[in-house]
């Protein structure tokens, strides 16, 4: 841009010391408006215009690229891209093109605003938010008159029934919210183990092998996960059921078990606890075989499995429910009843 087109004042105002003012606190007012290059040089303005549209065009191309890469790249194609390493070609292309498309719109808009849109200074004065005294007094006056005329203080019956009706209105909200879903009723009280009885026990199935287990398979210090017989991963409601039925089996040397009742529910030191945290229901099985603590990864509730899964730390409100197990005549581990309490987090109807 030719220098001679710049306003003289621009250069003259540079580097001058500001002369000390007679009143240092006086409002200096707005500085004089200075035009931008694009304001005075039509060629510069044209160039800025082209730059802005170029960015918008790039954005358009990038969007087309986005759609194209969605079609072109197979979902499992992995490519090597220098500083990042091996990445999915599809992810990379989608991210890059969408990023460019959005960035160019933003950058174009900013460039447009800075070079071409009006840049006249507009002072906006700030005012106190509160109304002036006259208005306030008036409002207070009106309120007092209203209160006096209504006789609110005097006519107790009206007042009390009004309060009553206001208090009852929110109840309609409760009715509406009640529609959000049926209460869980008894569904949370029982698990897939509920059909087990001493006469008709349910075998414990190892989640790894899908086979029933013998007592001697569970050694001291080991951890095994189990589900009730009959629950198959191919079942439609498998996920719903396993969320309640999941067991962790540990074996603790009988002399280390502190809770008598818990030892009796188990068999020869093998204890079957629910895997579902009683806080908000995360699966817990961070089992430490030396301390016999089981930790919940969500909010760090810690249960002492040697002491009836008592809560020794954290927000959980109940010990982990324990399943009563024994062995059948062939030596396989079986459950003879449901958990002694509902598994998982507390709920309103929990007994």
């Amino acid at each position: 841009m030719p220098e001679e087109k710049l306003p003289e004042a621009h250069d003259a105002s540079q580097g001058h010391e500001v002369a000390p003012h007679s009143d240092p606190f006086a409002d200096p007012g707005l500085p004089a408006h200075e035009p931008r290059r694009t304001d005075i040089d039509e060629r510069a303005a044209k160039r800025a215009e082209r730059q802005v549209s170029l960015m918008f065009v790039v954005s358009m191309l990038a969007t087309i690229g986005f759609i194209a890469s969605y079609v072109i790249f197979p979902i499992d194609k992995i490519v090597f891209i220098f500083p990042i390493g091996h990445v999915s070609a599809l992810n990379f292309a989608l991210g890059l093109t969408l990023g460019v498309a959005l960035f160019c719109i933003g950058a174009g808009a900013v460039h447009w605003a800075r070079t071409l849109m009006s840049d006249h200074e507009l002072p906006a004065e700030r005012h106190p938010i509160e109304a002036d005294d006259e208005v306030r007094n008036d409002v207070i006056e009106q309120f007092k008159t209203g209160a006096a005329e209504s006789g609110f203080g005097r006519r107790k019956m009206i007042r009390n029934t009004l309060i009553g009706s206001m208090a009852l209105v929110p109840l309609s909200g409760v009715v509406l919210l009640r529609d959000l879903g049926p209460l869980p009723e008894k569904k949370l009280d029982h698990t897939g183990w509920q059909k087990a009885t001493p006469a008709n026990p349910i075998p414990l199935i190892n989640m790894n092998t899908n086979e029933p287990m013998k007592a001697e398979d569970i050694v001291i210090g080991s951890l095994t996960f189990a589900k009730p017989e009959g629950l198959e991963e191919s079942d439609e409601d498998f996920q719903q059921n396993i969320a309640k039925d999941a067991l962790m089996l540990v074996r603790i040397a009988p002399e280390d078990i502190k809770d008598k009742n818990s030892a009796e529910l188990g068999f020869g030191g093998i204890l079957a606890y629910s895997k579902i945290c009683t806080h908000v229901g995360c699966p817990i099985s961070l089992y430490e075989q030396q301390t016999h603590h089981a930790l919940c990864p969500c909010h760090q509730s810690t249960f002492d499995l040697a002491d009836g899964a008592r809560v020794i730390f954290g927000p959980a409100g109940h010990p982990l429910p324990q399943l009563k197990i024994t062995i059948d005549e062939k030596g396989f581990l079986v459950a003879t009843g449901d958990f002694d309490e509902p598994v998982g987090p507390s709920f309103w109807e929990r007994s």
């Binding site: 900013v110 800075r114 790894n208 398979d217 050694v219 951890l223 540990v250 990864p297």
Partner: protein
């Protein structure tokens, strides 16, 4: 009988009797002599046990007792088997450098031959899990990775994280990252349940499944590409959130400052 007694006076009779007597004595000796002694001079295994015993006396007995019976400072090693020794010493966890919530992995101070000798000695104290062979932990079937992934998520992910990056436990203990751990050591850890890790014996997790888990862990740690680019440590929302807040928001703030600072307005003042 007649024949025998007829030859009793034969000049070689004495020699025959002598030979018979010698053979009988030797045979009886072989049958009744203390077996250990008889083997000691021949089998390489017992040599290793002897060497291991010496190493044990120097390096391990102060905590585990002179005969591996355990003491207040260390558990009994009777029945832990050679796999436990190979894991603990082979990853540098033993000898422990100081007592504490967790004995961390550190530089290995014995060579593999010495580790084998120690393992042989400890295995001689009582039966326990045996150091696995290479075939046991090296998988050749490509399906093993996906099967191992399922097993890993059921049995291991709760402590070691979905990508084997490890995680915190209670009171300063932690589940270590599995990233650069030897296939053999992963296998042994499942067999023996070191420190606070529960064990996964062959009775509840068959050998084949352990091999699959090892295959999966080695795959995620070594060759699995990361479709999104940066892994950010595969730690989940913590690092991802931190990255978003610092780099994502940081970039936005930087752009906002740049937009505001480089106007003609800003230049004028």
């Amino acid at each position: 009988m007649k024949k025998l007694s007829a030859r009793r006076r034969h000049p070689l009779a004495a020699l025959v009797v002598l030979l018979l007597a010698l053979a009988a004595t030797g045979g009886l000796y072989a049958a009744f002599a203390p077996a250990e002694k008889a083997q000691a001079d021949t089998s390489a295994q017992s040599l290793a046990i002897d060497e291991g015993k010496k190493l044990f006396a120097v390096g391990c007995s102060s905590c585990h007792g002179l005969n591996g019976q355990g003491s207040t400072d260390g558990p009994s090693l009777v029945g832990v088997g050679s796999a436990a020794v190979d894991f603990q010493v082979g990853t540098g966890r033993m000898p422990a450098q100081q007592p504490g919530a967790q004995v961390p992995r550190k530089k290995v101070i014995y060579n593999q031959a010495e580790i084998d000798q120690l393992a042989a000695y400890v295995a001689s104290l009582g039966p326990g899990p045996v150091t696995p062979t290479k075939e046991q932990y090296t998988s050749t079937n490509p399906d093993d990775v996906s099967k191992g992934g399922e097993l890993f998520r059921t049995n291991c992910a709760q402590c070691h994280n979905f990508a084997g990056q490890g995680g915190a436990l209670t009171k300063g203990k932690y589940a270590p990252s599995l990233e650069s751990v030897d296939a053999k050591h992963i296998y042994e850890a499942m067999q023996t349940g070191p420190q606070n890790m529960p064990s996964f014996p062959d009775t509840t997790m068959p050998e084949e499944q352990k091999k699959q888990i090892v295959a999966f862990v080695r795959h995620t740690a070594n060759d699995e590409p990361n479709p999104g680019g940066l892994t950010l440590g595969s730690l989940g929302p913590v690092t991802e959130g931190l990255f978003g807040w610092i780099f994502g928001l940081g970039a936005l703030i930087a752009v906002a400052i740049w937009v505001a600072a480089h106007t003609t307005k800003a230049k004028k003042s």
